[in-house]
Symmetry: C2
C-alpha cells in the first residue's frame, strides 16, 4: 500500500499543528505516511493552492489524505472540510465547546500562537537571548546578579543549548558555568558561584553518552575516555548533593524537556 499523504496546515508557522499531528500519528506505529507542511495559509489564494496539492497527493497515492489543521478563518476551515480527506481541526472542534462553556462569542483573529504580541515582549526575549550568549560557558560572571538561573555541569553535558532554549522559548535569563576537573577533585564550588548558590541548577548525563559525545570532539583523548567521564560525573553528583544544588539527568531528554524540567523542578515561572 502506498504511504498515506499527511498535511499540516496552518495560517501561521505550522509548528504547533505539526507537533500535535506527529504526536497523534506516533500512536499508529505501523502507519506509513508522507508529510507536507503548509504554513502561512492566510488568504484565499494560498488556501486554493493548498487544496490543489492535497488533491494531487490523493490522486498520486490513491489514498485519502489526513489533514491536521489550525486555521482561524472559518470559510477556510469549511473549504478544507469539503475536501475528500480526513480533517483533524484543532480549532473548530473546540471553539464551539468553549463558546458554550464561557458564554462568550469567539472572535476571529488570526492565530497569534507564535506571533509578536507586542514588541516589548519581543525585545525582552532578545534581551534574554543576548544575556545567554554573553554569559555562556563561564563568561560574564559579573552579570550573575541578574540571572534567573545558572546552569552548571561538566563539559559537553548540554548547558549551552539548554540556556539558549530557556531564553528563546521562556524568556528566562540563564547563564552557564563549566565545573572543571580541579573543582571536582576538591569537591568544591568554584569561588565565582558561591554567592549565587540559590540560582544554581545542575545537569548530569549518563557516562556512556558523555563519552560518545566527547569522542566526537576529541577522539581517543583522556578527556573523552569513559573512565574520565565516569569520574567527573560521580564527583559532580557528590558535589551537587553536598552543596544542596538541585539537578536533573538529561540523558534521554530533548532540549525542550531539559529546559521545561529545570523550570518545573526549580519552581521558576515560565
Amino acid at each position: 500500500m502506498p504511504p498515506r499523504p499527511v498535511f499540516y496546515i496552518s495560517d501561521r508557522t505550522g509548528i504547533t499543528v505539526e507537533t500535535l499531528g506527529h504526536s497523534l500519528l506516533s500512536q499508529f506505529e505501523s502507519l506509513a505516511y508522507t508529510e507536507t507542511i503548509v504554513p502561512f495559509v492566510d488568504n484565499d489564494e494560498k488556501l486554493e493552492a493548498c487544496i490543489v496539492r492535497i488533491e494531487a497527493a490523493a490522486q498520486a497515492s490513491g489514498q485519502r489524505p489526513l489533514l491536521f489543521v489550525t486555521l482561524v478563518n472559518r470559510e477556510h476551515q469549511a473549504r478544507l472540510a469539503a475536501c475528500d480527506a480526513l480533517m483533524v481541526d484543532f480549532f473548530r472542534t473546540f471553539l464551539g465547546v468553549l463558546e458554550n462553556e464561557l458564554e462568550i462569542s469567539p472572535g476571529q483573529r488570526m492565530g497569534h500562537t507564535h506571533g509578536v504580541r507586542d514588541p516589548g515582549q519581543y525585545d525582552a526575549r532578545m534581551d534574554t537571548l543576548n544575556y545567554a550568549l554573553r554569559t555562556d560557558d563561564g563568561s560574564g560572571a559579573q552579570q550573575y546578579d541578574s540571572a534567573d538561573l545558572i546552569i552548571v555541569g561538566v563539559s559537553r553535558s548540554g548547558k549551552t543549548p539548554t540556556c539558549l532554549y530557556l531564553a528563546l522559548q521562556f524568556g528566562i535569563r540563564a547563564a552557564n558555568y563549566p565545573i572543571t576537573e580541579e573543582d571536582l577533585e576538591h569537591l568544591r564550588l568554584p569561588p565565582t558561584l558561591v554567592s549565587h548558590r540559590s540560582r544554581l541548577f545542575g545537569l548530569l548525563i549518563d557516562a556512556d553518552r558523555l563519552h560518545r559525545i566527547r569522542s566526537q570532539r576529541l577522539p581517543d583523548s583522556r578527556y573523552a575516555s569513559l573512565a574520565q567521564c565516569r569520574y567527573e560525573l560521580r564527583q559532580l553528583q557528590a558535589l551537587f548533593q553536598r552543596e544542596g544544588i538541585p539537578w536533573l539527568d538529561s540523558t534521554s531528554m530533548s532540549v525542550e524537556e531539559i529546559a521545561t524540567g529545570i523550570l518545573h523542578a526549580s519552581g521558576r515561572r515560565r
Copy 2:
C-alpha cells in the same frame, strides 16, 4: 467575576498544549483567566496531585476550571474527565477518529512530542547549534561550504536568534553575516559571500523598529539614528534586488515566524 482557572496538563513538557490552549483562548478576548502549567504528569501520584490543584482552584475562584490536556494514558484522561471542569483533550478527541479512518489500533506510548527519538537526531541538532554559534556574525566563513543557509542583514536585524532557532527547532545549519556600511555604499556583496550566493537569505526590518532596537544599545549615536537606519535598509533592499537574494521583512514577526518563513520561502526542508 473572579478569573477562570485554566490548566495546561501534559505528560511531557506542556509546550504544545499551552500553545494550542493560548491560541483557542485568544479568540475570547474578554475572558479573564489565571493559568497553571502542569508538565510531566506521567504517573498516578502526579495526576492525583494535579487533580487536587484543580479542585482547589475551582473552590477558591468559584468558577469551573478549563483543562487543556495532552495525556496519552487513557486512565489518566478518564480521571481528569471525571473532574467538574471543562476538558479540552487534544489526544482522546481525535484518536478514535483516526483509528476509524486508518483501521489500525492506536498504541499507548507516552507522547514523544518533544522527546529524544534517537540519540543520533539529538547529536545532529547539537551539531547544527554549534555550527550556528561558530558561524555567528561573520565568523567561521571557511565553514560556509556546509551551510544550509547564510542569513544576511544589517546589525540588529535579528540574524542571530533566527540562526539559533533554525538550528534548535529545525536542525538547519545556518550561518549569519553582517552587511556593513561600506558594502552598502558600494552596493556590493561582501567578497566572502560571492561564491555562496545560492545559500544567502536576507532579513529586512522596518527602519523605525531598527532605530528603537539600536537606540537601546547605543542611544543618540549615528549608528542608531533613524536617518542611518533608513539609509542602510534602503541600500540593503537595493542590494538584495540587484543580486537576486530572497528576503523577508521580519518587523512584525516572532523568531519562530521568521525561521519558518525563511524555510518556506527558500524551499528548504524542515
